[in-house]
């Protein structure tokens, strides 16, 4: 049995959010550079150049890459031999969000009563926390500040199983055609297939944590990833929707078995500014 102090969790969460909002992961920067090189439209290439200048400006001036520093999404992998001490785990994470967003001059974007008063909570809490219990005595914390513009274009559906992979590809391409230009392309499309409705959306979101452009190890799934990427890039939406050949940089699909009657499909849309950071205690 290993003991982990809440204080350490708070400090880790605070610094992970600050780092995530200022420094993009190397795999995302590499994908942006590939997009900048392969984009066919002149305005699209200029836009990609500005996006890369922005990534550098954020590093230079310690400014958030994007002003929408997001909903604080936290994924925990909690070892079953860990004992959390010195407080309450959820409160420790929220304290980390509070501290990280204040110390890092990050925007506080959460509102109470989203259907009416929409009053800002003032400190970007509460975090959205997903906990998985795993073997071992470590605590892996992964943060994903999720911007509103791309999240607003995310969708969930339950398809008749008879539609198969072609139905899924068609659904995703149609969705990107409809609202992709609002989601800050070039996009990363996180797709969940299977499970129950809440499970499939979680699969879609978690797939965004994969290295950008890495394919699923299952060859049938990776073939579908490549097909959807190719179809989406035929749409012509391009960087920021100004027209071009690179609408999406990557498609990540995660699959879970489903009920004999069901084929839930979720698309979690991620803007080019794909931020995530992790640490293990």
């Amino acid at each position: 049995m290993r003991r982990i102090q809440c204080r350490a969790i708070t400090e880790t969460v605070a610094s992970l959010f600050q780092d995530a909002c200022i420094h993009l992961p190397p795999d995302v920067i590499a994908a942006l550079k590939r997009a900048a090189r392969s984009e066919k439209s002149t305005l699209g290439r200029q836009t990609m150049k500005s996006i890369l200048e922005n990534v550098a400006a954020a590093e230079d001036h310690l400014l958030p890459v994007c002003q929408d520093t997001g909903t604080a999404v936290v994924f925990l992998e909690l070892g079953q031999d860990v004992h959390i001490v010195g407080g309450d785990l959820t409160a420790a994470i929220n304290q980390g969000v509070r501290k990280g967003y204040a110390d890092g001059y990050l925007r506080k974007s959460m509102v109470h009563r989203p259907f009416s008063a929409r009053k800002n909570t003032g400190d970007n809490t509460p975090a959205v926390i997903h906990t998985e219990i795993v073997p071992g005595e470590g605590l892996r914390i992964c943060v994903l500040p999720k911007g509103g513009g791309a999240e607003n274009c995310s969708r969930l559906t339950v398809m008749p199983p008879s539609l198969g992979h072609e139905g899924i590809a068609e659904y995703v391409v149609h969705l990107v055609d409809e609202c992709g230009c609002n989601a800050c392309p070039p996009l990363i499309l996180g797709i969940g297939i299977g499970g129950t409705t809440e499970q499939t959306m979680l699969l879609a979101k978690k797939s965004l944590l994969r290295k950008t452009g890495s394919n699923n190890v299952d060859s049938e799934i990776s073939k579908l990833e490549r097909k959807i990427l190719s179809d989406v890039n035929m749409l012509g939406i391009g960087p920021m929707g100004y027209g071009g050949s690179i609408t999406a940089m990557a498609v990540h699909i995660e699959v879970f078995p489903a009920h004999i009657a069901s084929m839930p499909v979720a698309v979690n849309m991620q803007c080019w500014c794909s931020r995530h950071r992790e640490a293990t205690l």
């Binding site: 439209s41 305005l43 001036h61 958030p64 994007c66 609002n182 800050c184 920021m240 100004y242 027209g243």
Partner: protein, 197 residues
């Protein structure tokens, strides 16, 4: 005024023009969708809740603490200012959420909007009628756009935090014209030019 030639030569967008704010009718007439511009002058920031508040005040016959006539509104909610900096990160937010409120603001003389993403058919029709333009800044490029902000001043609704209305003094703020006063829409024409399905 044509100031610099951007690289490449095969699309709509070959030159970047400098435009002074408040924008003149003459400049509005000269702009075409797909034009790259660098804006210098003064603009107001406003987003979801401040739009709701502005339109509620106007509908109730109240005056706003600033003139909308000839004004430019930038849809943004910047990050807090770090000590030693002029402004925080300040990229555009999705404009469609402001569509519901925009027709009334156009009736009160709003001339230019900056955001990202498509506008509704109603807003586009109203813009044509009132001779207003819609531009996009690069979504997510908050750090880069911050460098164009030379002064930031709180104007209204301080209780809204990032959603308050600020006056920004900008220099060479980069944007692309999406909707011109001739019915052009870059999201339509840009995509159509590159669509292969």
């Amino acid at each position: 005024m044509l100031v610099l030639a951007a690289q490449g030569s095969n699309t709509l967008n070959m030159k970047t023009r400098c435009i002074a704010l408040p924008i003149s009718d003459k400049d509005i007439k000269s702009l075409k969708c797909g034009d790259s511009v660098l804006l210098t002058g003064s603009m107001l920031t406003a987003r979801d809740t401040s739009h709701k508040k502005m339109t509620e005040a106007l509908a109730a016959g109240e005056d706003l603490p600033f003139a909308l006539n000839g004004q430019t509104i930038y849809y943004t909610g910047p990050t807090p200012v770090r000590p030693g900096h002029i402004a925080g990160s300040a990229g555009p937010t999705t404009s469609s959420r402001m569509d519901k409120y925009t027709p009334l603001l156009l009736e009160h003389g709003l001339k230019c909007m900056i955001g990202k993403g498509r506008r509704s058919a109603e807003v586009k029709k109203k813009m044509l009628r009132s001779g207003a333009v819609y531009m996009a800044a690069i979504g997510g490029a908050g750090a880069l756009l911050s460098r164009s902000i030379k002064k930031i001043e709180l104007i209204s609704y301080p209780e809204l935090g990032a959603e308050a209305i600020y006056r920004l003094e900008v220099r060479d703020f980069p944007a692309v014209v999406i909707n011109d006063i001739y019915g052009g829409d870059l999201y339509d024409s840009g995509q159509a030019a590159h669509r292969r399905v």
